[in-house]
Amino acid sequence: MSLAAILPPPPAVRPVPGLRPVISFHGVSKTYPNGTQAIRDLDLAIYHGDFCFVVGASGSGKTTLVRLLIREEVATTGRIFIDGQETTRMPRRRLPKLRRKFGIVFQDYKLLPRLTVAQNVAFALRVTRPGQRHLREKVEETLWIVGLEDKLNKFPDELSGGEQQRVAIARALVHRPRIFLADEPTGNLDPDTSWGIVQLLLQINHRGTTVVMATHNREIVDLCRRRVIAIENGRVVRDEAEGAYLREGEATI
C-alpha cells in the first residue's frame, strides 16, 4: 500500500489570488509509448519567484515532469500552461521560443568537451541569438555569477564535478530565463559541493527567477525549508509551502 493511501490528504499550497501561475498543470497524464504511466492526473501551480523542490523516489516521475515542462514530451491528456500559454498543443515551430523561457541543467552536465568554459556558455547564445552583441561581456558576467570568472579558458575535463555543474548553470542562465529547471543537479556531487550548487540556485531565485529543482537529496531539502512537491507513482502526494523531504514524523524508509 502506498503512503498516499495511509496518510490524510496533503494541504495544498494556496493559490495566490489575482496572480497567474508561471507554470500550471491541469489533469495532466503521461503514458509512454511502451505503456508506462509516468504522470497520472496531475494538478500543479507554480508562481513567479517560487523556489520549489520536486521530491520522490527514483522512477516516481520527476524527470518526466521536467520533460513535459519544456515540451520534450507531450502530455497524453490534460493541459499545461507556461506564462499563461497553453503548450500542450503548441505547434512545433513555436517550441524554440518556449524553450528560451527556461534554463535547464541535469545530473550529467552535458558540456561540450572540445569547447572551453567560456565557449560552452557562449554556445547557448550563439545558437539562439546569432550575432548577439556584447557576447563576451554577457558570458563573463554570467561566469562571475556562478563563481568561475577565473576559469574562462579551461576545458571541462580540467574542472571538478561541482565546477562543471556551475558551467552548465551559467550556460542555462546566460540568456536570463524566467524559469530555471534543475533535474537532480547534485546527483553526482559530494554533500559540500552539492550544498554550494543549491546556494547558487537560491541566489538565482533571489534575483527573481522561478526555480524548480527535482531531487532526492534529503539533507538539502530539509535544510532549505522551501516549497516541497512530493510525487509518487506520477501523482502529487504532498505539496507544502515550507516542507521537508519526508512528512513531519514520518519514519525514514
Partner: protein, 302 residues
Amino acid sequence: MRSLLASVRFAIVAAAQNFTRNLGVSMAGVFTMGLIMLLVGVTLLLTHTVDQVLARQESQADVINVYLKDSVSMRTIADYEERLRQDPRVAGVSFISKDEAVIIAEQEGEGFMQSAISTVGSNPLPASLKLQARSLQGLTQLNRIVKTYPITDTSTGHQTSYNPNVIPTLQAVIFWTEVVGWSLSALLAVISLVIIMNTIRTAVYIRRTEIEIMKLVGAGDWFVRWPFILEGMFGGILAAAFGTVIVGFTYNFVLEQANAHVFLGVTADGPFLTALIVVLVAVGAGLGGVGSFLGVRRFLHV
C-alpha cells in the same frame, strides 16, 4: 543582417567540423558517391553519343544512292541528273563517281577497300547519284521512279540504298537508349541518397550532445539542420567533381581512340561535356543537400 551573417558563419564552421571530425566516413561517402556520379556521367555520355551517331544516320535517311550501271555514258547520266533536279520532290542531286565511292567507303571505315581493289584489279563499287528528297514520302515515290531508269544498275538486286524501315527503327533505338540511360541515372541518384543519409547518420551521432543542447536552449530546427545540409552539399560537390573529372578525361580519350580506328561520325562534344559537368556538380550539391535533410529528419527528428 548581423544575425543572418552569424548564422551562416555558424553553419559553415559546423559543417566543416562535421566533415573533418569524421573524415574517414566523409571521404568514404564522397568516394562512393563519386563512383556513382561517374556511372551517371558515363551513362549520360554514352546515351548522348549513341544519340549523336544515330541522329547522324537519321539525317542521312532522307538520302538514297541510286547505283548506276558501269556502261552508261556520263552524258546520259547528266541528262537524268537534270531531269531529277526538275522534280519538285527533289532537294538535291549529286553524282558520285566510282573513284569517289572508294574514298567515301574508306572514310566510313572500310579500310580494306584499297587493298581489295588492288587484289581484284578493278574497282567493284558502282558510281551513283546521291539523291536528297524534300520529304520522306517523296523519297518513297522517287525510289520507285528511279528504279525504272535505264541507267540504274539492276544486276545486284538492290538498285538503291533505300530502306523503308530505317527511320522508325532508328527512332525507337534513340528512344529506348534515352529511357534506359535516364532510368539508370535516376536509380543511381536514389542509391546515392541512401549513401548520404548513412554518412549523415554518423555525423549526427558524433554531434548528438551538441544537438541535444541546441534543442534544449531553444535553437530553431533550421539552425540545427543547416550544418548537416551544407556538409552534404559540400560532399556532393566534391563527389561530382571527382566523378566528372574522370568521366571527362575518359570520354575525350575514348572518342579519340575510337575515331582513330573506326569512323563514328562524331567527335567529343565539348559543350555537351561542359554542360554535363556543370549539371552533375549541381545535381551532386542537390543530392547531398536533400540526402542530408532526409538523414537529419530521420535520425534527429528535427
